[in-house]
Every structure is written in structure tokens, then in C-alpha cells.
Assembly symmetry: D2
Homo-oligomer: 299 residues x 4
């Protein structure tokens, strides 16, 4: 990492060092907010932003995201976790607590098309993505120069249908060794095996170059052109073992017309892909996304 | 038709009475624009707006729309048509000439959901849709009051899978008798038979309540809800005998989020459907749409 | 009110009869959410949706909207209000509690352009605006028919610069007599006096036909045309005594191009005005809007 | 220029070497299209895309853009220009003919904020901007590295109110020496003198970081924040000697809400500025823009 970026990241982490974020999902019932907020208050935490949503007041599912400021969070965190466990058990919560001083570690997978990678790196250099990009893995050499110029480790691992098992073994070793929290498929054109995907539940974000569920699978721009659509789109979603069927985090579209050839659709599409993927990654890094029944709640 | 609308329509027709519109499609070659524009010039026509497009300069397809003003058009039109035929044959043109003093006659088909019908009637009363709405046909009585209050003939023809043949016979008779130019399916929930569709090539405009080709077929909002999309859309297209596969004229979308239930998607969707259908109808009425290989050129 | 609409409204009110909504604004400090949620829990209220926001964790302003379900709310409400007062005083809260069984009463002011009125009436008939439209006041007769056809009282009060005082006296009497909660200026082209405005703080919603602060004042479409903008917009805001300077609730835009004359801008603009005003009114009726320092928080 | 980009540009120029583009503006009258298209036909030119527009058929202004393919254009161009002069004089045309084998030369002016420069360079490297970027001029050193890494000459000319005359003298010498066709102010925060602007009529494109005419002048994001707008925008326009009042080429907006601080507005705004400026530059380079009465026709 070059020194400017390093300093930026350091400053950002410092500004967030007492910032905690609690994500909770549980069956709805009265008293959940009261219990959580009383708990936080006892730690003298100040709630900065909270969003809550219930699918149904009678027997539905309850979701909350609470971002709070708590002095000396680092020294208290272990105890907070331990004590919150009692509340969590009482309400059968699925919960997650993250703190601003711990930055998520990210691995970006990319092939030959670099626009999504470039956008992520750019946003990251501007301080807009709070993460440590621990590595870029590619089955091509195209991105090596740009990646290494930022002092990010670059791993060239040629991949094809034939050597998938070996390739993933190598990738998994790298991911494990570096304690990677998030894998971003920034137009990585290889299919991952079910084992790889299952090992990272809702930890792999993909960008699909169409407005899903339209044009699932290969060559969406060619098919969009053929169908004569008037808008093209892109979709960022968590990867599951159903191709292009994982929970959607973000989508967007742009207008096209009869003058646009396939090449133009691709060009316009690249610009949508860039912004859709980086918004989805940002929201994930800020712990804004909860998955429920193959859908996302984005707070 | 009530008298205000009648007067408006009359004024509009008068303002357009010398306005002609020529739509042409033919194999591309040099000299087409020169031939057409020389021809129009000889009639002392002044070109107001023209748009031209070629798929490929070498062996592609050529499309043009020319809107012109020509004094005493009505008296010259027959001769114009006759003489233009020579040019048309020379360039193997598929062509169409319309004049502002001849207003297209429209039939609107509707079921129980009236929002698209209401929007069309509203736009029409505001003078934004230059057409004579010759009739509304429905398999329900819900829209009778609003339609008849505007002095538009309303035909209640109960329809179901069982009586499709008879129903269409009755409908076809009405359409023929009234020289209908355009059929608008404003959320008419019945499937038309292949014979009915083939009798009106690119003369039937439908609104489908999804962003095609996503959610082809029934209950698109339910499926959009289930899939967890972040945008919902609507698509207006010419009806062909492939369900929801006809040439797309216009599409649009709006953003939704996790808080939106199916009912909310429907509500938001209605607003998109209204505007998408009325734009498509407007462009068709203004002769802005050319169909080519199951796609539209919208000038 | 006609019977269909009446039944719809009744059904809606019933479905919401145990629904409460609490809006709070106060200086930020730890413990506010804990205090409020504990309080609600003691009444066995279940929180359906809550949104919270602080301008700054250190000495900033705190805002929250909590929508909850509470059995037999009607019978408990008086006591809830009384007891909540203690919490409110402790945290210096500016607060408001509304209940679903009490429907806000609305007066719509309109002149000759009826598109915004029509949209509001339409949304209201569809059950999308939960309010009792107690009257429409106009300085022209144009809307009488459509208003009275829905059994809504219509008051024709000719207005001009000269008779402003008398006119407002008459209007104020009507508003008071009917306990009006919200005044909607649906393209009412008269200026209100400072006294009138001050008597209804953040209770008057206007639609301005431009993207404020561009084109403040009269004839915005003419000026937009002259300036050659590529997008036109509309803005819905609370009326204050600074012309077009009140807190903005909602804005939107649409694309225009060189072919659009002033008349086209107006036509496109009407469609934006309709949707922007009805969204703003809807959010106000659902108690989603908090005003702070001439800006709005929309939850 | 690095070799990849150089090859791309070369390939692009070759693919366009027989492509001509004619822009015409003149008083409207019958026969203009006929005369132009007959003329082109005599040179065996094939019209690829043409767009035409008249402000008013009776005494208005006529505009046309014709893109055509003409074998051996280079050897014919001088004669085409000479002969077209006769037609041009007959119709009092203001006209311009450009050919694909002559690439426009561009100078980019930038200060410390590099996002617009980066976007332009990126688009240019991707082959989406057909231009020779002959130089980048800056009053800061920040962009030197990125510019020089692409083998584009970088000129550091410190500028302030005090030394404006000298600075512009130096800049003008560089522009002249390099036959610059287009100056792009990619967030160059210095005001140009009237003399400088007048020397480059409709040859200087600026990006203003607001939705003009809202927030003319300095610090638009601060003022947008203060006003509480719900959308922020950016505007690309030709520079004239009325600050931020030149003809608008393109505008766009994005949605913001109460949670967005000034820093967030700037961040969101940067993304709009990037795309708006690059679209405007692209359209200018493709000769799609005609200026008329302080407005643009964009074909």
C-alpha cells in the first residue's frame, strides 16, 4: 500500500475507533429495541444511526442495525459481546457486532476486464471504501501493473475448467492465510465450485452485467441487444450455488436506444457495473446488509 | 365525445392539417435521402424534423422519418402517394405516409384495473394524444361510468377462456366497422388468439407490468417481490404471437426497497405502467416507431 | 364522499386503528432510545418500523420516528401522552404522537390547472392517501364538477391581490370550522399573507414547478426554456414567508431536449409535479417528515 | 502517449478515415435537405446518420447534422469544401465539415481535484474519446505523475489572481503552438479572462458542480447542503464571459438525503461531474453539438 493511502486509512480508522455497529435478526416480539437500547445505554454508548424493520408485527421477522459511539470501545468489546449473548439467547437472535477499529480484509478476483477493479481501487484510494485490500487474484496478467503500483499483492493464477480444483486450493490457501472477510468478483469470469461458495456464505459479492433476473448467464449484452431492450442494467448480489440467483444487493440501469450496437451496450454497461458494484461493496463494508430468505435488507 | 374535447381535437387537427409524415425502411445505398428530399421539395414541402439511421453503411438497413409541412396537403396527397411509388420501387422501400388531418382511430381494451385507461383518457383530454378514441371494450363493467361520461362508446363483452372465439368475433366486428387503426391493451388480462393478433400486425400495443424479459407471463410483481429486486419496471410492446416477446417500444423502472410489500410494488408499478404505456401510444400515434427484426427504431 | 371511497377509508382506518407513530426531536445524548423503547414496551407496544438519525454524536441533534402497534391504543392514548411527558421533559424533546384511528383532515387549494388536484384525488380514491379531504377551495370554478362528483365540499372564493384580506378571512373560517390539519397548495396561484402562513407552521405544502433553488418565483418553465436546461424539475416544500424558500420535502426531474418548446416543458413538468406533490403529501400524512433548520428529515 | 493507446487511436482513425460530418445552421426554407443530400450523393457519399430540427417551419431556424461515409474522402475533401460553398451561400449557411481522419487536439486544464481528469483519461484509454490529448495544464503538481505516465506532456503553471495575465500568455502560446481545438476545464478552479474566452468561442467546455442555474458561482455543495435539496447535480457547458451562464451541453443529478453531509454531497457529486463532463466532451468531439442563442442542439 502506498503511503498516502496508508495514512488515509489510518486516519479513517482512528476517526472510527469508537464506532460500533450491531446487526440483529430475530423473530419479532415486543421489547427487543428496549432490551438492546438499555444494554447499549449501560455501556454509555450513544446511538448515531439506527434503522429497524419488521416484516409483520404479528409473528414476523425483526431486523435492526444500530451504529453507535462508545468511548474506549476496544477495551470493552469482549465484555460487551459476552453480556449481549444473554439478550441474544432470550430473543433467539442472529447477531453480529463489528467495530470501526477492525477493518475488513478484502480479496478482489478479476479477469481481463478491469473497469470494476479500477473503480474499486479508485474509491479506495479516495478513502470511500474502508477496507484493507489484501490481494488481487487474477487468471490474467492484465491488472498486475495497476495493482502492484499501489503495493497490493497480486497473484496470477491461470484458471480454466480443467484445473479448477487446483486453482481453488491455491486461492483458498491465500484467503485463509490472510483472514479474508470479503471476496469481490469484479468481473471474474470463472465459475466457483459449490465447495468454494459454501465456505464463504454471503461473503462473496459478484457483479452481473444485466438487470437480473433478465439475462441470467452468459453474454447478457448480446442478448439484450437481440431483444431490443430500451434500458440495460447491472446487478450486484451475493454468490450462492444457484447461478445469478443469490440475494440482490443493488441494481441500476441506463437508457439505450436503437443506435446502440452491442459494443455501445457494453460501454454503457461498464459504467453501470462500476457504480453498482462499488455501492454494494460499500454497503457490505459498512455492515448495512442483512440477508433474509434470499433477499437483502439494506439499511 | 364531450364538446370541450371535441373542440380541442378539432383545433389540434386544424393546426396539423398540412403536416405530413413519411416513414421509410429499405436496404441502404447512397442517394435515398437525396431522392426523397428532392421529391418533397418539388411539392414545396418544408421539412420540420427528420431523423435517419442506418444499421450499417455497407449493406445495412436504412430508416428515415420525415415530418414536413406542405400547403394544401389534402388536395395533393393522392398525387404525392402515386408519384412517390416510383421512388419507393426503385429503392425497394417499405413506406408509409400519414397526414395530420387524418386522425388515427383507437380502441382501448381494459379489464378491472383502470389506472392505464384513466391515464390515457386524461392525456387525451389534455390534448396530448391526437387520436379519436372510438371505443372502449371491457370484460367488466368497472370502467363504463368514466368512459361514457366522456361520450365514448363502451362495450361490455364478458370474456373467458371458454368463449374466446365468440368474444373475438364480436370484437373484430366492432373494430372493422369503426376502421380502428390501433388497439391498446390497457391492462386487458385476456390472451388474444393468434388469428386476432395476425390480423393487426404492429397495431396492438400492450403494457406488461415488468421490465421485460424479466418476469415474462403472469404475476410479475409477486415474482419480483420473491426475487428481491431493487428496481421494478414496466414494458410497452407490440403484441405478437410470442407471449411478451413482441418488439419493445418503451420501458421504465422505479426504485423499491425491502420495506415494499407486493401491494407496494403494485402501487409503484401502476405509476410506471401509466407513463410507459402513454409514451408508447403517443409515439405510435405520431408515427415515430418503425419495427425491424423484432426491435423498434423510435425516432 | 362517495360510498366506495368511504368504505375504503373505513377499512383502512380499521386496519390502522392500533397503529401509533411517535416523532421526536431533541438534543442528542446517550439513553434516549433506551428510554423511549422501554416506555413503549411497558405499554406492550410492538415497534414496526423505526428510523433514527443524529446530526453529530457529540452535541448534535437527535431525531427518531417510531411506528408501533399497540392493542387497544385508543383507550390508552391519553395516559400514554401524559406519562410520556416526563420523558419528554427530561430530554427536552419536541415530540408528536399520532394514532392511526385519527385521520388527518385536509384542504386542497387549487386554481385553473387541475393536474395536481386530479392526481391527489386519484391517489386518495385508490386508498393511497389516508386522509379526509374535507374541502377544496378554488378561485375558479373549473374543478367544481370533479370535486363535487366525489361528494367533497367545493368552495369557490374568487381571489385577487385586491381582496386578499377578505378572501383569507373566509378561508380561515372554513379551515378552523373544519379542524383542518393540512393545507395543500395544488398549483394555487395566489400568494398567501404572512399572517395566514404563520397561523399554519409546516402545515402548508406547496408544489413549485421548478427544481428549486433554480427558477424561484414566476414562470419557471419559460425561464428554463430560455436558459436551455437539459432537465426540468419540480419541488414540494413547506410554505414559509420566504417565497419558495421553505423546507424542501421532495424534488424530482425529467430529461428534456432542444426539441421541447415551452408547451412541452409544461406538459412534461405537469407529470413531475403530480408525482412530487403526492409523494410529499403522502409522507406528511404518514408522519415521516421532521423539519429542522429549514431542512427536512424524511424517514 | 503509450503504445497501446497509440495503436488504439490509430485503429480508430483508420476505421473512421472515410467518415465525414457536416453541421449546418441557417434560416429555414424548403429545399435545404434536398440541396445537401443531392450534393453528397454526387460525391457518392452514403448517409449513415442524420438528424434535423427546425425551430419553426415558418421563418424559423434550420439545423442539421449529417454523418456520411465517402470513399477516398481525404483526396476529395478540398473540392467538397469548395463546391459546398455555393450551396452554403445560397442558403446563408453557417456550416462546418469535419472528417474522421483528422483528430481534434485537446488541452485539459486541471487544479487539485483529479476525478474529472482521471475519468477523461480513462475513457480516452478505453478508446471512447477520439481525440489527441496534446497536453494537460495545471496550477498544481498533483496530476503530473498520472499524466506523464501516459506520455502526455504536463505543464505546471502556477496561477493566481495576481499573475493571471502572464499565466494566460504562457497558456495561449502553448495552445497556439499545438493547434488545440478544444479546451476542457476539468475542475480548473481559476477564472479565465474575457480575452482568453473570446479567443476560443464555444471551444472551452467547463464542468460546474451544480444543477445550473441553481448555485451559480462558488461552493455549490455547501449551498446545496444548506438549502436542503433532495437532488444534487452537475452541468457541463461552453464557457462564455458570463460566469456559469454559457450554453448548457449536458446535466445530470443524483438523489441525496438528510444523512448526507457536505462531504457526502461532494463525493456523490464527483461521480455526477465525471459522467456529465465526459458525455459533453464526447458529443463535442463527435460534432454533435450546435450552439444557437445561448442554447445547444445536441444531435
Amino acid at each position: 500500500m502506498n503511503s498516502i493511502v496508508q495514512n488515509q486509512l489510518k486516519a479513517f480508522k482512528e476517526s472510527k475507533q469508537n464506532r460500533g455497529c450491531l446487526l440483529v435478526k430475530c423473530p419479532d416480539q415486543p421489547g427487543i429495541v428496549a432490551a438492546i437500547s438499555k444494554f447499549l445505554y449501560e455501556y454509555n454508548a450513544n446511538i448515531i444511526e439506527s434503522s429497524q424493520y419488521s416484516t409483520d408485527p404479528h409473528g414476523g421477522q425483526f431486523f435492526i442495525r444500530i451504529e453507535f459511539e462508545c468511548g474506549e470501545l476496544k477495551s470493552k468489546e469482549e465484555q460487551i459481546r459476552k453480556e449481549f449473548q444473554t439478550i441474544a439467547e432470550h430473543f433467539s437472535m442472529d447477531w453480529n457486532l463489528t467495530s470501526g477499529y477492525e477493518v475488513k480484509k478484502t480479496a478482489i478476483f478479476v479477469s481481463k476486464e478491469l473497469h470494476c477493479l479500477r473503480e474499486l481501487l479508485w474509491e479506495w484510494q479516495s478513502g470511500d471504501l474502508l477496507t484493507e485490500i489484501a490481494m488481487v487474484i487474477s487468471n490474467h496478467e492484465d491488472s498486475r501493473e495497476i495493482v502492484e503500483s499501489l503495493n497490493i499483492p497480486f497473484y496470477y493464477i491461470p484458471a480454466s475448467k480443467e484445473n479448477r480444483a487446483e486453482v481453488e486450493k491455491e486461492q483458498l490457501a491465500l484467503l485463509k492465510e490472510n483472514n479474508i472477510d470479503l471476496i469481490i468478483l469484479a468481473r471474474y469470469m470463472q465459475i466457483l465450485t459449490p465447495d468454494f461458495v459454501e465456505a464463504h456464505p454471503f461473503k462473496i459479492i459478484n457483479i452481473h452485467h444485466s438487470f437480473l433476473p433478465a439475462f441470467i448467464g452468459a453474454r447478457p449484452y448480446d442478448r439484450a441487444y437481440k431483444r431490443g431492450v430500451k434500458l440495460i442494467g447491472a446487478t450486484s448480489h451475493y454468490v450462492t450455488n444457484d447461478l445469478d440467483e443469490g440475494p440482490i444487493i443493488e441494481q441500476d440501469i441506463m437508457r439505450v436506444d436503437h443506435r446502440d450496437k452491442i459494443e455501445d451496450l457494453k460501454k454503457i454497461g461498464r459504467s453501470i457495473e462500476r457504480s453498482v458494484l462499488s455501492r454494494a461493496v460499500k454497503w457490505h463494508l459498512e455492515d448495512r446488509v442483512i440477508v433474509h430468505e434470499n433477499k437483502t435488507i439494506v439499511f
